[in-house]
Amino acid sequence: MIDRRSVHPMAWIAWATSAGFVAFLTTDPVYLLLLWAVSWFVYASHRVDADHARSFRLFLTGAAVAVALRTALVFFGTVNAANTTFSFLEGLRLGTILVIFGTFNAVTDPFGLVRMAPRHFHEPALAAALALSIAPRTVAGVGRVRDAQRMRGIRIRGARALPALAVPVLERGMEEAHTLAESMDSRGHGAGRRSRYRPQPWTGRALLIAVTAVGAAATFLAASVGGWAVLHPQSSPIVWPEADPLLLAAVGLLATPGLVGRREA
């Protein structure tokens, strides 16, 4: 039953865009926290490898920091329960978007995305792929340098040791970028004679993921435009957030990637 092939990158783009859009539309903690759970489930089912797992953890930490910082901003104004709640919910939305992005990072190969791009958009796509892969590659690089330094008996601790860590990481990053560019050039990228080696199949599974994700986003858009459900719970005074059954189902739809199969390790 388990499909060993990976999911088409376009399906992941559709999933991440839709999930991010849903998070953008609401400050209801019910939907937002559910999106955290959905992201976690999808990540657990589809993560690519250990390096990407590390980058997911990085985004998770970043999201927690974003929530804390956004909530702390309340100290610049009047501190009361309503304002703190409002700030926290805004931060939670920001954090949710980060977690979704982290999931997208962990389940896709950014350079697989470059292959998808039409020839004319190849360079912007390459730029986007580089931007997307900077976080996981830097995290992986830091890990490798740390291991190497430890073997040499250098303890990386505190701010003074930062150069010892940062210089090799940056150097390595530059080196990797050069290698990548050269290898791409040798394969005909940018010269208009690039071939498609083993194109990614657009499976029914990928289609299902894309369609359910877009459906979820459309449901939230309808709620936002139509106003038939509360997307921004009142914080002054604080009331219990509401959970509309249809919107709960829409968030549940975003868990489709975790349900229709998983990546074999």
């Binding site: 559910l34 759970a37 089912s45 104004g77 920001l94 990228h189 921004h232 219990w240 709960l248 390790a265």
Partner: protein
């Protein structure tokens, strides 16, 4: 290999552009500080909403030297998520914080309606002689809306005694525009609509379809009748956080769904690890 170097340079530049483009997306969310009374900057006015079951007060940063009473409510909606609904073409106040009629006729619940008061700066209140659309509110002024019956300031329920310092903690400026000279009775809302079927004396009925709609921030688009009424949206005194209605059944479903997803993810991760180790 000039093409490689050029492509790399362009790609890095484009990557920087993408990162830069993301900054304005995240920045407003970060820099838009708490919607609160930063009393030190700019003029502020106080808005007091008394629904009969509770009183809420807002310290509102004005976006002009003086604003209309209507615009003060709009500002409260933007800054503090006060839900409101206007009638008579945006001239009259029908609905505040989920209390009041939903349609364009602000006297649909007559004899209950929103009475409009101005603070006199010494804790007292005077009945507004003008409608909210033409009333001018400046820095340090107090405006109050009280849900109740009574056709004039003599019979309508008054808001609790209050001065600007009670709302805007370190007061922005002393009361400048709130003059005690407004005393003509009954002009807060256009006298349209016929007094119909007097509602019960309960000031607000958070159980009926027209009540407590804490929906979207700002404009109260008023959820359809039959939508889940959330009682107690405003049923609390100012100050401590209010005791709100309990959580709805949807929350339980969400909790179960979230737990299932989190647990499922954990199991997946564990089984994957186990397989790769073996």
């Amino acid at each position: 290999m000039p093409t490689v170097a050029a492509a790399l340079r362009r790609s890095v530049a484009a990557a920087l552009v993408i990162v830069a483009a993301m900054i304005p997306v995240t920045l407003p969310a970060v820099t838009r500080a708490a919607p609160a009374c930063a009393a030190a900057t700019g003029p502020h006015a106080a808005l007091v909403i008394d629904t009969g079951t509770g009183t809420r007060s807002f310290c509102i940063a004005l976006d002009a030297t003086t604003v209309s009473g209507i615009h003060l409510i709009e500002l409260a909606g933007a800054q503090d998520h006060l839900a409101y609904g206007f009638g008579s073409g945006g001239q009259a106040v029908c609905r505040l914080a989920g209390v009041g009629p939903q349609g364009d006729d602000c006297f649909a619940d007559y004899p209950e309606y929103w009475g409009y008061w101005h603070g006199d700066g010494h804790g007292g209140w005077t009945w507004s002689s003008t409608g909210a659309a033409s009333a001018r509110v400046g820095g340090g002024a107090l405006d109050a809306w009280v849900w109740g019956s009574g056709d004039s300031g003599a019979t309508h329920r008054k808001p609790p005694t209050m001065v600007i310092d009670d709302v805007c903690v370190p007061a922005a400026s002393p009361a400048t525009t709130s003059s005690p000279a407004r005393s003509t009775p009954r002009a807060s809302v256009p006298s349209s609509g016929s007094p119909s079927s007097p509602t019960s004396t309960a000031p607000s009925q958070p159980g009926t379809t027209r009540s407590a709609d804490p929906s979207a921030r700002g404009v109260a688009k008023t959820s359809p009748p039959g939508g889940p009424p959330t009682a107690g949206a405003l049923a609390a005194p100012p100050g401590p956080p209010p005791a709100s209605a309990g959580p709805g059944p949807g929350l339980l479903v969400a909790l179960v769904l979230g737990a299932a997803l989190a647990g499922g993810g954990w199991l997946r991760l564990r089984s994957t690890r186990g397989r790769s180790a073996s």
